[in-house]
């Protein structure tokens, strides 16, 4: 009896402590911004300007903002434009670059916008049901543009992303540049190839069938840090699946089995009483 009460007290104490302390919100030891619609890693060292539904991190010294939002529109271009305009108060107009790329979690559209000489935006967007996920890197650096994009690898046997970097430079820089200096860089997001010249810096990382690229119109000191932050956001982005009907099914199965077990104890007890009454009635009739 004493043991039962002691154990019960222990269980209820644990229940109380558990109710206060049980929590979630981390994955693989990384702190995540969580909203109803999506999760992205929190960028340490960046100013957190997030709201309940939008993840936004700003780095003042680089004039850079990384923003993740889900826009309730199924037109990717319109959704990306609307999100950028609403967030930065500038009309970004039509994109100067647009390409589709298949990443592990679906087909994304890479978009690059130039609102004016001061502000440009690199956007990765994809459909999620009837909504559009928009992950944007917006920078307002008057010295030179910084652009981020992902591209399908043209040669999967190539050891690095130099081919995709060259293609992107041809399409995006005027005049096209040759970047002669080359080094490799290990960042939290992965192994990067860094190419540079007096005027430009470009980076590329191979991941699966795609290359993740960053190009800066400057001999960019901050580029590795910015490219790493944007791609950690892009690669770390995920939507928590809505599988609550399966939870309901699991609970139903649990209750049905436990109910059947407990119910069978009652049914058998009732049957036992009926049998006993019948026996007594028969014995009474005989007597």
């Amino acid at each position: 009896m004493k043991i039962t009460i002691t154990l019960a007290t222990f269980v209820f104490a644990l229940l109380s402590v558990g109710a206060v302390n049980a929590q979630g919100g981390e994955a693989n030891g990384v702190a995540y911004f969580r909203s109803r619609a999506f999760n992205v890693p929190i960028l340490a060292g960046w100013e957190d300007q997030s709201t309940e539904t939008v993840a936004q991190f700003h780095l003042a010294e680089a004039g850079a903002t990384i923003r993740t939002a889900v826009v309730p529109q199924d037109d990717i271009l319109a959704a990306a434009g609307a999100d950028l305009s609403a967030a930065f108060g500038v009309d970004f107009g039509a994109p100067i670059y647009q390409d589709k790329v298949n990443l592990a979690d679906g087909t994304w559209t890479a978009l690059i916008y130039e609102a004016n000489a001061r502000i440009s935006a690199s956007v990765m967007a994809r459909l999620a049901g009837s909504e559009t996920v928009v992950i944007s890197f917006v920078e307002s650096d008057p010295v030179g543009r910084i652009l981020m994009l992902a591209a399908t690898r043209s040669d999967e046997s190539a050891a690095d992303a130099s081919g995709e970097i060259a293609t992107a430079i041809d399409r995006l820089l005027d005049p096209p540049a040759t970047l002669e200096r080359q080094e490799s860089l290990a960042l939290p997001s992965g192994e990067w190839l860094l190419l540079s010249s007096e005027r430009y810096t470009a980076m590329g990382m191979v991941f699966g069938n795609d290359s993740y690229l960053a190009i800066a119109e400057l001999a960019g000191e901050p580029l590795p840090m910015l490219a790493d932050a944007f791609n950690r956001t892009l690669l770390g982005f995920f939507i928590t699946p809505d599988n609550s009907p399966y939870l309901a099914l699991g609970l139903a199965a649990t209750f049905i089995i436990l109910g059947t077990l407990v119910g069978s104890l009652f049914w058998r007890e009732r049957a036992l009483r009926k049998d006993l009454a019948l026996l007594q009635a028969l014995a009474g009739a005989d007597g």
Binding site: V11, Q23, R34, T254
Partner: protein, 250 residues
């Protein structure tokens, strides 16, 4: 000449022993604890951002296996002591352990399968852990069927004691198989998961806080309470069967 006395209705009584106070308290604790552990797993614990809401089934899935372990463990102990002392009480414990353990292991199997559908994209796979758990369930289901098929009471008790002892091997195999056979996709909670485990559970402090009371409840309170009730019922069923035999012999 001696005349066999007639059996009167008053002779046909089953001894009504009142429910012990400890059992009543245990029942209340179990019901309240079950409700509390559900609240903890379904409401207080945070949502797993990778797996979504289905991860909460883990707070039932894992403890239910350990509840089955306790129940089948009592079957093992009941069987061993029955064979040593031949007292029917231990056979009742063994039987009750099988019924409760089978219910718990079915919960474990079904909740696991339901969890696997959104996480592994399949209801079932012939993974070593899943296969051994299914074999365990079938072995104990066969216990109940075999038991019903043996008429002689003493033979039935002795045979089922031996069966209950041997059947416990399936419990141990299910418990340890993911440590022995590395080709499993079933996640491991304590220690490192196998290389190819899919949909793992991180034993974060939040998860442990929500899990531990539930584990304790399913491991101790739920099996003991249910088994105790089942033993009392079995005792009354046996008494009724004796009365039936007595009445038929009249």
């Amino acid at each position: 000449m001696w005349e066999k006395p007639k059996l009167a209705a008053s002779d046909l009584q089953i001894e009504e022993s009142p429910q012990p106070r400890t059992l009543r308290i245990l029942t209340v604790i179990t019901v309240l604890g079950f409700a509390g552990s559900l609240y903890l797993g379904l409401a207080a614990a945070g949502t797993d951002i990778l797996q979504g809401e289905i991860q909460r089934i883990f707070y039932i899935h894992m403890p239910s296996f350990f509840g089955a372990f306790t129940a089948f463990g009592l079957t093992l102990i009941g069987g061993l002591i029955y064979l040593a002392r031949r007292r029917e009480h231990w056979d009742r414990i063994a039987l009750a352990g099988v019924e409760v353990g089978l219910a718990f292991s079915l919960i474990n199997l079904l909740t696991g399968s339901i969890w696997a559908r959104p996480i592994w994209n399949t209801w079932w796979t012939w993974d070593p852990r899943l296969t051994s758990a299914a074999i365990m369930c079938l072995t104990y289901a066969a216990y109940l069927m075999l038991r019903a098929g043996i008429d002689d009471l003493d033979r039935r008790r002795a045979f089922m004691s031996v069966y209950g002892i041997l059947a416990f091997v399936t419990v141990l195999i299910t418990l340890f198989i993911i440590r022995i056979v590395p080709e499993t996709i079933h996640p491991v909670i304590v220690g490192a998961s196998p290389q190819n485990a899919q949909g793992g559970f991180e034993a974060t402090s939040g998860v442990v806080m929500a899990l531990f009371p539930s584990l304790l409840l399913w491991l101790i309170f739920m099996p003991l309470t249910l088994i105790w009730h089942r033993i009392r019922l079995e005792k009354r069923i046996e008494a009724l069967n004796r009365l039936k035999t007595l009445a038929l012999s009249e």
